[in-house]
Symmetry: C2
Subunit: 421 residues, 2 copies
């Protein structure tokens, strides 16, 4: 049991996502003691969360205990706890299980999904941000097929076989593509009463095109590839209502019992406690070195930080959060040796999105490609980025198996009784 | 979509465990149509459930969707639903999602854990029968170590590091041995404040020895092996009270925040609807061919059936349930060709129990052994019995990895907020 030296300055990190964890790791040899606080006990590889939601991977495949990742870094104490409030004047954070004082604070509590003021939609259209969300969506999707198999009335049966994904960003595209694959390839032979091949997957996007962060030509390729997989793409259709029976988009209506939300993101509510005006999504505008204006001892990073570079916002993606984490660690080291931190600069290495079986799009600025080659590129890149050697092997075995057999091994419904209707 | 022939006699199977599933598979080529009803969507390999509870395996590693297992057996319809009541006179079963008539009924709904009339204990001492149970126990155990790391008071911290397993049968022995391994080998390096090596694991058994179904010499070897792993074994100590702070056994008391129940089993409540007097554990006495006395069209099998053979009860273990399943299928086939079913005869091939890392006991009557060789025997036997080729490979990879590294990959807490105390 190695204990961090109590006489060193205390760096308190809130959030064990890409921002907080990368900052913590980059401070391994710095003369500080670190406490990393997270609500969960694990770091989550969010880019593959949709695979857990669609039964391709198990929860432990894409999550690793934070204290296991950091077991050799003896200047870190990991604490599973929830930050409730921040007292900037006293330099103290109140947690669900106690209080902690800090010399330097990193707020990296990320974002959650948001319903643009329509909180009643949450019940009918669950979002995907945590492992619990992913397991709940998995149960909901698999249970819908089970309900279709039980249902005697053909109309009601079809309502169980209509799936709507709201939001044409990367998560929505991945979810819709994978659901279509499940309905077309994975399940049909296994049902006797419901005609699963008659299942329909709708992707609904308010804006004019899917993957709006990509160049228009790749959005168009994505739309074509989605349609090939069997997804009905509805663009320019803002959702106006969601209830237990379906989704309304102005005059149009899709009858569906399974609606998934991949549209809105709101920053963690902790951001509103930092004494500055947050932006529309609740993000905190930061100084060029990512510190909180007026509080050089506080840094805000990852999805919670609002950073504008060359007139454009830095996107809320994993590479940006990792770069911010490394930058903040550098800023802390610089201050410890009496230097002034440099401003943060986001390096955009490109943009990938997967669509479904053997389909993806890649944008490296001048180099853009899509289809099978892009899918292989996406797969290798994501395997490479997965933390932990063991996870890579298991994920590779699972993917290989899914690819050859069209099966998805994690098709287990837990945590819900069968619906009575 | 192959549909079973509606003019064939209808065999309704309640329960997709070893009894119900083995009966269903043995009727593959019989001139019947079968409906298999289960509350969950999966067949569960219960002998490895404790591995999910102790974070060695993921839930999908030991569970396979029933409709996937039976996808090629075209005379079966799988229905995820819950049987609520049985009308023997009308030959009709009411389910949560509808009603089904039958010509032949198989009741194989198994058993759940029981608290011998002390239902208030359930809250403090969860039992282990389903995947949901296993995931809840996993969260509780991992959260206890997290709470110890947060706790400032040394006495309260130690209370989070005391684990009590109640019941010295196979499940209790496996759980206690594995918990001791986790505390001694898996976690210590990862905690900074709590001294996890000071964790204590207690196994409490009311009777005079653990593994009472085994010969006394193997019980004694099990006790010695458990103590070597660091488990404190308390035999002859009936539990008299369980509350949030610990366990009372007459005059003795163990202060503990984490108590697990592996002591009592009660048969499924459906057994009480069959018009015969059930035994103390709620099991249904059956005719020699496993049919319900007075109702040759109804069979009761698996843990729900009370079968006495040569003056001894047939044990509630997986091999017995599988043999009953095969027997009932044979009885149905015999009747279809006008013959009289033979009486059921349980063949006892022996008894295995694992204790922890490299320790197990094996009883084949004349041949009895324990220790490392027994452990390898246990491992190979269980891999061989796991349904589904893919599961075997993944489980083998996970076990190999755990063995070499002492790590347990599924240490992910889901479904619970961190405790606030």
């Amino acid at each position: 049991m190695a204990t961090p030296n109590p006489s060193l300055p205390h760096v308190l990190v809130l959030g064990g996502g890409f921002g907080g964890l990368w900052a913590t790791r980059a401070l391994a040899s710095a003369p500080v003691r670190i406490t990393l606080v997270d609500r969960t006990n694990h770091h989550l590889f969010q880019p593959l969360l949709y695979q857990v939601a669609t039964a391709g991977l198990s929860a432990p495949d894409i999550a690793a205990p934070l204290r296991h990742i950091l077991r050799k870094q003896t200047n870190v104490t990991v604490r599973m706890d929830e930050a409730l409030s921040i007292d900037l004047a006293a330099r103290r954070v109140t947690l669900a299980g106690g209080t902690l004082d800090y010399d330097t604070l990193l707020v990296a509590t990320g974002a959650t999904h948001a319903y643009f003021g329509n909180d009643a939609w949450a019940e009918h259209a669950p979002g995907l941000k945590t492992l619990d969300d992913a397991l709940a969506i998995r149960s909901r999707v698999l249970s819908a097929f089970e309900a279709a198999e039980r249902e005697e009335d053909p109309d009601l049966r079809q309502a169980w076989l209509e799936f709507v994904v709201i939001g044409g960003g990367p998560t929505g595209v991945e979810m819709a593509g994978t659901l279509a694959e499940i309905a077309r390839h994975t399940l049909p032979r296994e049902f006797r009463r419901a005609d699963v091949r008659g299942a329909r997957v709708h992707l609904v996007e308010a804006g004019p095109r899917v993957l709006a962060a990509m160049p228009p030509e790749l959005s168009e390729k994505t739309r074509v590839q989605l349609q090939k997989l069997g997804v009905e793409v509805h663009t320019g259709q803002p959702v106006t209502a969601i209830d237990a029976e379906g989704v309304t988009m102005g005059p149009a209506r899709i009858r569906s019992r399974t609606v998934l939300w991949a549209a809105g993101v709101a920053a963690s509510p902790l951001g509103r406690q930092l004494g500055v005006a947050t932006d529309r999504a609740g993000r905190v505008p930061v100084a060029p070195d990512l510190s909180l204006p007026g509080h050089p001892e506080v840094f805000v990073l990852g999805d919670l930080a609002s950073v504008v570079q060359d007139g454009k916002p830095v996107p809320g993606v994993a590479p940006a959060a990792k770069q911010m984490g490394a930058h903040v660690a550098g800023a802390i080291r610089a201050r410890l040796r009496g230097a002034t931190p440099k401003p943060f600069r986001y390096r955009d290495f490109g943009n990938l999105a997967t669509i479904g079986r053997m389909a993806a799009v890649v944008d490296f600025g001048r180099l853009r490609f899509s289809g099978v080659v892009a899918w292989w590129f996406w797969l290798v890149a994501h395997l490479f980025l997965l933390i932990g050697f063991r996870n890579r092997i298991i994920v590779l075995v699972n993917w290989g198996w899914s690819y050859w057999t069209y099966q998805r091994h994690a098709r287990i419904i837990v945590g819900r009784a069968p619906p009575g209707d």
